[in-house]
């Protein structure tokens, strides 16, 4: 029985998920309130925007790139979208129309930043890290400048309800995250462009010679990533009822960390949607549990670091047991 379990564990690529389950069980015993309906809902809600943003990042990383500008994308689309919707700025549409327009504008902002990144990386041949580092600086500065640091509020109710509304008993954020995951899964596993993304990540030259539209593939990944970040911004903005120019500025390492811990390679060509889901689950659980235990600020950081290291070691030992000795 144990031997079978062990063999299954050795073979499967779900080890991070198992780690999550283990962590969940342990935490349920030692933390009051962890294993409760309310907390599970919390977990789920905290997870969703992060999942959406991370899925976009996964696509970019599959091509061998990286997108550091997701935080500024979230901030900029939050304030731009909010200023279209806010009753203060007085565009004067009726609430549901302006919600519609607002979300549309947010997604367009995301796509536009993605397009800038993608074009710079492909057509101008700039390294992704530097491109997105500078666009991060630029667009987050732009968001702050645009609003002069002020938050934008008085958003229409129909927009605010997004984070609490349900569609056939499934909350909208969950629907959105599931939707993004399904789309990403569909694209990566069943379409031509999905195959192209992996091929580009594994070897650009081979891909180009084999007729892959390399530039188009990479650009679409950055655009997709930007749209995902913007979608994350929709959920965040709706949840906080505020368009904020510094929204999401601290989630960058969480997102990239989650994707990489899930197993997606930083060098491209290797990664899966479900891995990223597990990675995000791992990071969120970690935060949630440590938060509930009531550890102090710095202990949470120390433990978080140690657990990440621990997970990585487990994963390595699984793949290469010889390193244990």
């Amino acid at each position: 029985m144990i031997a079978q379990l062990k063999e299954h564990y050795q073979k499967s690529d779900n080890s991070i998920l198992y780690l999550c389950v283990l962590y969940y069980i342990v935490m349920s015993f030692i933390t009051p309130g962890f294993f409760s309906l309310g907390n599970n809902w919390n977990l789920l809600f905290n997870l969703m925007p992060l999942v959406i943003v991370s899925i976009g990042q996964t696509c970019v990383m599959l091509t061998g790139g990286i997108d550091l500008s997701i935080t500024s994308t979230i901030a900029l689309s939050s304030v731009v979208g909010a200023s279209f919707m806010s009753s203060d700025s007085g565009l004067g549409f009726n609430p549901s129309v302006s919600t519609f327009i607002g979300i549309g504008v947010m997604l367009v902002v995301g796509a536009a930043i993605g397009l800038v990144n993608g074009v710079a990386v492909t057509k101008l041949g700039m390294p992704a890290f530097m491109v997105t580092l500078t666009t991060m600086m630029f667009f987050s500065g732009f968001a702050v400048w645009l609003t002069e640091s002020q938050n934008i509020y008085n958003l229409p109710d129909s927009f605010l309800r997004i984070s609490s509304m349900s569609m056939r008993d499934v909350p909208i954020p969950v629907v959105a995250a599931l939707g993004v995951m399904l789309i990403a899964y569909f694209i990566l596993n069943t379409t031509v462009i999905g195959e192209w993304i992996y091929a580009v990540g594994l070897n650009v030259k081979v891909a180009r010679i084999s007729g892959v539209n390399v530039d188009g593939t990479i650009i679409s990944c950055y655009v997709f990533c930007g749209v995902c970040a913007a979608l994350g911004a929709v959920l965040y903005t709706s949840r906080l009822e505020t368009g904020s120019p510094i929204m999401g500025q601290n989630i960058l390492l969480d997102v990239i960390g989650a994707v990489v811990i899930g197993g997606t390679s930083l060098f491209g060509g290797k990664g899966k949607v479900k891995w990223t889901l597990f990675g995000v689950l791992f990071i969120s659980l970690l935060d949630n549990g440590l938060n509930l235990i009531g550890l102090s600020y710095f202990l949470i950081m120390i433990v978080k670091g140690l657990v990440i290291l621990f997970a990585a070691i487990l994963n390595v030992l699984k793949e290469r047991p010889s390193l244990a000795s």
């Binding site: 530097m130 710095f298 978080k304």
Partner: protein, 325 residues
């Protein structure tokens, strides 16, 4: 005619980083007469010394295709440990030596996990990034700490007319440059960065080389931290935050590749760090609107990277043409 033109374009592109650096300096010089004073230029050097020292260590790591996200935490830890030691009555020199040891030790921890368990550097240093800051916050009880006069004196003395931070910077850059370009160890770093597997096959001490670059990076981070606090006279809980990104940016701006094997400390990384600092300095000197800082900084760095990649494309083309002769 066409050839001459092409050649002169290439000449310009070859020294793009330097030329752009000059352009920045000249632009600010025009905007403010204060910029071009000896005092201000030496200010720029003093202010960039800490970043340049950290970026030097980072360059070693980047050359092996690694990355170290934990340098900011190491800086912070260095600051906290030194402040604590001095507060407990230890002599200054002992505090400094201990701090450098702590930094090196931190590098050792990174290297240990990277080469003992073969975990990718990104994850290891992400984990130590959290642990380091958490531990520093624990030691400092998340409070700002002021350092005694003695520290500030180190920061402001001049030896033979050279300000102390610049002197330290000079020694670091010189020894790093010598080590990278004139020693066997240095050349082997480039070899490992190009292809670790080949280097191993060729019988190079790959593990030892990887170990040493992380040690060097940890040491430089601690030293950079010391240089910074010697100027500041205090350590706040946010000390060193985001330094890892700035250090990486400085190195890449100086021509170091994230994929290993390419780059240098002198003039590359030094120019990178000084460029970043000059922009900041110039903006203050001309009393620019504070909101425009990130916009201008982002845009200028983007431009530098763009020109650099155009040069690179040109180079690849001409190299291919020259290959068979």
């Amino acid at each position: 005619m066409k050839v001459i033109q092409a050649r002169s374009i290439r000449k310009v592109l070859d020294h793009s980083t330097l030329i752009l650096f000059a352009a920045i300096v000249i632009t600010f010089g025009f905007l403010s007469s204060q910029f071009f004073t000896f005092q201000n230029l030496s200010n720029i050097l003093i202010q960039s010394s800490s970043l340049a020292i950290i970026a030097t260590g980072m360059t070693f790591v980047l050359l092996t295709a690694g990355i170290d996200l934990s340098v900011g935490s190491t800086m912070f830890l260095a600051g906290v440990v030194s402040a604590k030691m001095v507060a407990w009555g230890s002599p200054l020199w002992l505090a400094c030596v201990t701090v450098l040891l702590v930094g090196t030790l931190y590098g050792l921890v990174n290297a240990f996990f990277i080469y003992r368990f073969k975990i990718i550097p990104f994850i290891v240093t992400l984990a130590t990034f959290y642990v380091g800051r958490g531990f520093g916050l624990f030691l400092s009880e998340t409070r700002a700490m002021n350092l005694p006069e003695g520290f500030l004196k180190i920061g402001s003395v001049s030896i033979l007319g050279i300000p102390f931070p610049v002197l330290v910077l000079g020694v670091v850059i010189l020894s790093a440059h010598l080590a990278l370009s004139k020693t066997q160890f240095g050349r082997q770093i480039y070899a490992v960065g190009n292809n670790a597997e080949k280097a191993r096959k060729a019988g190079m001490p790959v593990d030892r080389i990887l170990l040493s670059v992380y040690l060097i990076c940890g040491f430089c981070a601690a030293l950079g931290g010391l240089v910074a606090i010697a100027q500041l006279g205090a350590v706040s809980p946010t000390f060193g935050k985001q330094s890892e990104f700035m250090a990486i940016a400085a190195a890449i701006l100086g021509g170091t590749s994230l994929f290993g094997g390419k780059g240098n400390v002198f003039p590359g990384t030094l120019i990178g760090a000084v460029t970043i600092q000059s922009i900041q300095n110039g903006l203050v000197i001309v009393n620019a609107n504070p909101y425009l800082y990130p916009l201008i900084t982002g845009a200028v760095i983007f431009l530098i990277v763009l020109i650099d990649s155009l040069r690179h494309m040109q180079e690849v083309k001409s190299r291919r043409l020259g290959a068979s002769f």
